[in-house]
Structure formats: C-alpha cells, structure tokens
Amino acid sequence: MKGLRQNGLFHILLPIYWILFGIALLHGSLEYRHLNTIQSEAQAKTYQQWLAQDPKSPHSAAHYGLYAYKPRTLLSIIDPGMEDYLGSAVWMEAHNQNEVKLRAVQDAGIFARYGKLNVAYLWQYLLPLIIILLAFNSVSAEYESGTLRMVLSTQLSARQFLLGKIAGQYLSVMLWFFLPALLVGGVVIIQQAKGQEWWAALPGFMSMALFYGLYLGLFSTLGVLLSAYLRHSNAVLLSLLGFWALGGMLLPRVGSAVAKQMHPSPSAIHFTEKVLNDREKGPDGQGSYEKFQEQVKAKALVQYGVDSIEALPVSFAGLALQAGEERDWKVYDQYYGQLFRTFQKQDAFLARLNLFSPMLLLRSISQGFAGTDLNKHLDFTHQAEQKRREIQSLMNEDQMKNGVGKERGYLADAKLWQQVNQFQYQAPNWYQQVKQQAWNLFALGIWFVFLAWGLNSTAKKLNPA
C-alpha cells in the first residue's frame, strides 16, 4: 500500500477519478429527481383527467384510457443502466396492447451513442483500468529489478508474498477510491429518498456494494497474478489492457450481433402487420370481427335462453366488447409472448458470454439490483398490460350490467371512473432480484474459483530465477 501511494500514477489518477465521480453522482442525483418529479406529476395529472371525465359510455372512457409511467428507482442514481434505451410510458387503452414508448435516447442528439457518464460506469470500467495501471508491474518489476530473490529469501512464502501484493492493491483501491465514494453515494441516495424509499432500496444498495467490492478484488488478484505469471511488465500491461478492452468493449457488441442472428426479432412492420391480421381474422380461425360478433350473439342467446338481443338480461354491447377484448388478448399474448421470449433468449445468450468478462458480469448484476435492466422493464410491461385488461373488463362489465336496453346510449359517470385505482408499479423484491441474477452470481463464483487455482499454481511456480 505504501509503495502504491508513492507511485506517481496514483496521484494523477486519484483526483481525476474523484472529479469524474463527483460530476457523475451530482448528475445522477439531479436526473433522478427531475425525471421522477415529471413522472409522478404526469401520473397524478393523467389520473385526475381520468376521474374528471364527463358522463360518457364506458367504452369511450376505455378508449380515453390511462397512462402507466415507469418510475425511476432510487439506485438509478448510481446505475441508470439501460433506462435511456427503454421506454417510460405506456397508453392503456381499449383494444390495443401498446408498446412502452418514449426512449430518452431518441432525443439525446448527436452524441446519443456515447451515453452519459455515471457512477456505475466509473466503477465498472474506470476502476479496473486504474487497478490494471497500478498493478501490472507489482510483481514483474520485482523480477526485472532482481528484488524478488531478496524478498523470497526471507521467511515469507510465495503465497504470502502474492497475497500481500493483492491485499495492498485491493486495499489501496478500496480505501482511496471505492469505499469513500460508496459512502458519499449512500448519503446522496438517502438525501434523495422520500419516506421509506431508502429502506426498500437498502438490500439492493448493500448487494451492489458487496459485488462491486468483490469485483475490484477480482481485478486486483488478476492484475497481481498475471504480473507474477508473465514476469515482463510490458507483456502484463498489454495482456491486461487487451482483456479489459475485449471484455468491456468488444464482447458486448459481438455478442449482440451473434445473439440477434441466433434469435432474430421481427421488424416493427412485420410484427404490427401480423398482429393486425390476426386481430382481423381471429386467433383460432374465428373469422372476421363481424362473424365473431354473430358467434357471440348466438352463444349469448343460447346461454340466456332468449331469442333476441333485446331480451337479454345484460347489455349485448358490453358482452360483445368483452368477448372482443378477450379475443384480442389471445393475439397479443401470442405475439408479445413470442417477442419477449425472443428478447429473453437473446439476453440469456448475452448472459452466457458474461462468463468471459467480469465487466459484463458486474454490469448485469449492478443493473439487476439497481432495477434498471430489461427484466424490470418486461415486468413493468406485464403489470401495465394486466392493469389495462382489468380496466377494460371493469368498463365492459359496467356496460353489461347497467347498459341493458340503452346499449351504446348508456352513460357512466365518475362513480365508475373512481373504481379504477391509479396504476402503481410493484418492483421485484430483493429475493426476486437475486433469483434473476442467479447465473451471473454463479459465473462470478467461477471466476473466484479460477483465481484461487491461479493463486495456488502461480505461488508454486514463483521463483526468482
């Protein structure tokens, strides 16, 4: 540790890191507050608009619909993850399962692809690079200067020597770079939290802290072991930088290209045409909407034992609308189900590649615990769609019950609108997050087993000759 602090590079990297960290944290915190204010205001306003509707037919109200807004999590201050690439609002209206729209990246301008500097990025990419630059000659320099012979001639074993080097690297990075930053980050998060939010976010925050800590330990160990194994500082540095660049920059892009070829997703035009076509023709060969309406009518007459629509004890308009909705749900379940399964297969392939890159592993784990990954987005999409269906059923049942004899002329009022609660997204709990990250945590474990083996075998081969 003492030796490291005498390293000139350490004194250059430390202030650069802290300046970048300060800016990234401040921005993360401002952005969180800004976006959550907009989101909660919009959510409240659109709900008020829903409640303030004039008397109208329940189906007209269903068309007016409601919006579900995806809230930003408190931990997105540290790791905004994929949020800019995911939509943030979905219109819950009659007949249509809409996609979650409004990706921030579309308005980000000409530098959109570079992303915005954030704390997680610094911890995932910059800190390992700093470790590499500080650790690459930790043992090789001892070889090159001939001091290793002297060190190993003492009572110190090779294993103790390597462990000492690793501990020195690790503690320096933890004490000067990571732990104080984690503390500052925690304070900012507490300050931004409302009410009990902080307690809800605590398990995720602690998990992130733990895994980032392990991750930095992994790089410290890797740096020292490679330095001992390769013995030539230049070779160590180039190998570590190559590993960093390949794992952090190259692998995700190559992986994405391969994942897309293995599990191709449809184009928007293909998808919408298929959905439209199946909605028009019916999912089970039911025929056009008009034919389907005839089937619904015939079934209703038999069910209620009457011979005309007028004699039905329920509003046929409500009955037909609900049957139409349920027919559409089958189509949506089929196509959106296929689409989301394709995304999940692509993600599963990318997760397998994470095994080859600790950076990608940690990126996934961090986004998972921060609630800024695709899993949470799909969960939000699912909950919003369930809410949409719940609203449609409520509107149609009201039409069925109260629209007898008036059919489309029936007007519902605020009493019905009030029966619809405001949409509240229920985020997965910590246990569910851990389950979603099971593979990544397992892969991280494999890395540590590999490094333990590496430590053992390098220690055996370490000799000053």
């Binding site: 659109t46 994929m82 996609e99 540095l237 290209a257 191709p264 928007a268 056009s288 909407y289």
Partner: protein, 442 residues
C-alpha cells in the same frame, strides 16, 4: 538512410509476433464488422420491402373492394372504422401510405441513428405527435450494447492497434540497448522514429483499406469507390493523430509501461470519457423537455375538444369555407370530421411544447457540434455516420420531410371528409405518395 531503416525495420517486424497478431486481429475485426453490417442492412432492407408490399397490397385490395361496391351499389357491412368507402376509414385503415428512408450503399460503414430512429412511418389521420411513437422493434440490451460496425473498428479499435504498434518504438530500442547503436549511424533519433512510425502507419492504414474493401465485397455490400476513398481519408487523418500522439509520448528516456499507460488513458479519455462528459454537461445545461409532459397536455386538450366538439367543427368550417359540403349542412355526428378538427386543436395545444423540444434538441446539438473538437473520436464518428447516410442531419431531413408528407396525406382526405364525399376506386389511385428526397450529399 530513411529507407534503409524502413527496410530493416520491416525485416524485424516480419520476424516478430506483433505484426501478424495485430493485423490478424484487424482482419477479424473488419470482417466481423462487415458481417454484422450486412445483417443489419439486410434486416433494414427487408423491412422496407415489407413496407412497400404492405402498402401495395392494401391499395390493391381496398381499390378492388371499392370498385366492387361501386359496381354493385351495395354498402359496406364490415367494421365501420375500416370502411373503404369513407375517407376517414381510408385514411386510417384501408388507404394507408408509408414514408420511408432508403438505405444508402455506404450504410455498412456506420449504424449511426438507424437503430434508434424510425426508418419508416405509417400515415393515418392521427395527430402528428403520434408519429413520434414510430420506432423499430429492438431488444434494449442490444441497443444498449451498440453495433459492431466499421465505425466502431475505426473509432475505438484502430487507435488501440496503433498504440500497440507504436507506443514504445524508441523506448524499446533503449531498453534493448540498441538505440545507441542506431544513433551511431548517420540517422538522427527523429529519422529513426519517423521511419519506424511511417512503416507501421502505412501497414495499418493499407491493411485496413484492403480488408474493408475485401470485407464489404465478400459480404455483398461493396462500398462505392467515392465512399471508400472518403472513408480512407478520414481513417488516414485519424490514425495520423494517434501516431503523432504516440510519437510525442515515446521519448528514449521514458519507459514502455509508462507510455502504454498514458496512451491508453488518452484513448479512454478521448474516445469514451470526453464524449460521455460532454453528453452529461449538455444534459445539465440544455435538459430535454420530457415528452411525458406532452401526454398530459394532449389529454387535457382532447378532453376540452370533446366538450366543445360541435363548436370546434363549426369553427373549422368557418375557417375553411371551401370545404363546406354541397348540401351546405354541417354533419356534427360525422366521426372523422369531428375527430380531425379536434385533433387540429390538440396539435395546436401541444405545438408550443413541440417547438420547445425541437429548439432544445437543436441547442444541444449546436453545443455538441461546438465542443466535439475536444476529442477526435466523436468527430470521426459523426463524419462516418454522415458518410453512411445514418447521421443526425439525414434523419432530421427525413423527419422534416415526413411531417410535410403527412400534411399532404391528411389534406387529401380532409377535403373529402369535410365535403362529405365518398371514396371511389380512382380516388385510391390519387392518394398522395411522397418519397424522401436526398438533400444532404453524404
């Protein structure tokens, strides 16, 4: 002397491992980029073909249905929202037109905005704000990771290879003890460094040029000569920058590790941190007004329009007396007319927010344009995107023309809707078709 050093250095390079490894990696990177580029363009072109087919098929079927109904004098019995005889049904369902952005032959160079922005829009009577919801379906994880395209190889990977080939040319001679031997010849240290740098620069540039030409050809996406030459011009300057920077760092009294650390830090700073920092600063100084606000505003206006729909429709006819029906009677129950005139009001209500957003995006881009000189990486990235026809400017032109085309499309149907006219088979042939006109010369 210069050429002698060049010759002997070439012999040393040939015998070593660095050159075959470096060029081998470059070959893999370029071929991978060409393969992913081919797949990306195939996907985009396939989507555009599907758009064209969907448009043609819809037109054919709707026209035939209308012709049959005209001939028989029968009325349409299906879904009223899809009635092909009604201009409202035609505009929203049976006569849809698309506005598409063609893929340029040079698009393999950079994905640019092509996976973030819509490449085609479907027109209907909807509010123009609804068009902003158009986007291609893509897994966010894949979007987030970014594309492995030639631009990525050029902007991020070529500098790393340049650093690997150049970072310790002089230091290495000193470390090996051969520098004094070289200096004892007639060549100066500068000449030695220059000859070695020129050789590596030429090898890297030449190999990239050859591999990119070969790779794009193998994958059936050969670049037009002009585009290839422009790309190589950009690459030559960019590689030159990294070689000059490496030369400034590589002093005989330095150390290899120190050189590598400084150059890689510079690469990280220029290629990733500076652009990400600029992005962050522009977000603080010019925050984008959220489109979420539009939603509440549009719904407010929609609720208001619903309450006053008759008044709005009456006002519309007052403003457009030329659209009065022959009967001179306003049909206040005409869904399409009420909906169209109400939508106009909603658009007016949202227009200030839209203008603010567009103004802010322009301010952000102006800021980024002004400060992109801080780093060569985004400069090169943007130049390559423009060359590929996937840059911001072309997409902006596309969106501007799309909005104009949407207006033309709606105006065609609005006339029939307000005049209470029916659609004929011939009317289907007259539905405006507008195509994108290239205004930017990539």
């Amino acid at each position: 002397m210069f050429f002698t050093i060049l010759y002997y250095d070439w012999q040393i390079l040939k015998a070593g491992r660095l050159l075959p490894i470096g060029l081998g990696l470059l070959g893999i990177f370029v071929l991978l980029a060409c393969w992913t580029g081919q797949k990306r363009l195939d996907f985009q072109e396939q989507a555009l073909r599907e758009v064209a087919n969907a448009e043609a098929q819809l037109h054919r079927e709707s026209r035939a249905t209308v012709a049959t109904l005209q001939k028989s004098g029968a009325t349409f019995t299906g879904n009223s929202h899809r009635n092909p005889l009604e201009p409202g049904g035609a505009a929203n369902a049976t006569g849809n037109r698309y506005f598409t952005l063609p893929v340029l032959p040079s698009a393999i160079i950079a994905a640019g905005q092509s996976d973030l922005q819509a490449n085609y829009y479907k027109f209907s009577l909807n509010k123009k704000q609804a068009l902003y919801h158009s986007e291609e379906i893509e897994n966010a994880s894949i979007l987030y990771n970014g594309q492995f395209d030639l631009a990525f190889v050029i902007v991020l990977l070529l500098p790393l290879l340049a650093i690997a080939l150049r970072y310790n040319l002089l230091v290495q001679e000193r470390e090996r003890g051969t520098l004094s031997f070289l200096q004892s010849s007639l060549a100066s240290t500068f000449q030695i460094a220059l000859a070695k740098s020129v050789l590596r620069y030429a090898l890297l540039l030449g190999s990239f040029g050859l591999l990119s030409a070969l790779g794009t050809w193998i994958f059936g996406r050969a670049l037009p000569l002009e585009s290839w030459l422009k790309m190589m011009g950009i690459v030559a300057i960019y590689l030159g920058f990294w070689f000059v920077l490496a030369s400034l760092i590589d002093k005989p009294q330095s150390r290899s590790g120190r050189n590598a650390a400084i150059l890689v830090s510079a690469w990280l700073g220029f290629s990733i941190l500076v652009p990400a920092m600029l992005n962050l600063l522009v977000n603080v100084w010019y925050p984008v007004p959220s489109r979420i606000k539009w939603i509440a505003e549009a719904r407010e206006a929609a609720a208001e329009a619903r309450k006053n729909s008759e008044q709005i429709l009456g006002q519309f006819y007052e403003d457009h007396p030329e659209l009065m029906p022959k009967s001179q009677q306003i049909d206040y129950k005409n869904f399409a007319a009420v909906s169209f005139s109400s939508n106009q009001n909603i658009e007016k209500a949202v227009a200030p927010l839209e203008k603010a957003l567009e103004g802010r995006i322009a301010e952000r881009n102006a800021f980024l344009e002004r400060f992109r000189w801080f780093s060569p990486a985004p400069m090169v990235q943007l130049a390559l995107e423009d060359l590929a026809g996937t840059g911001h400017e072309r997409y902006q032109a596309f969106q501007t023309q799309m909005k104009e085309a949407h207006e033309i499309y709606r105006a065609y149907f609005a006339e029939k809707i307000f005049k209470l006219e029916k659609m004929t088979a011939e009317d289907y042939d007259r539905i405006p078709i507008t195509r994108f006109i290239e205004r930017v010369n990539p």
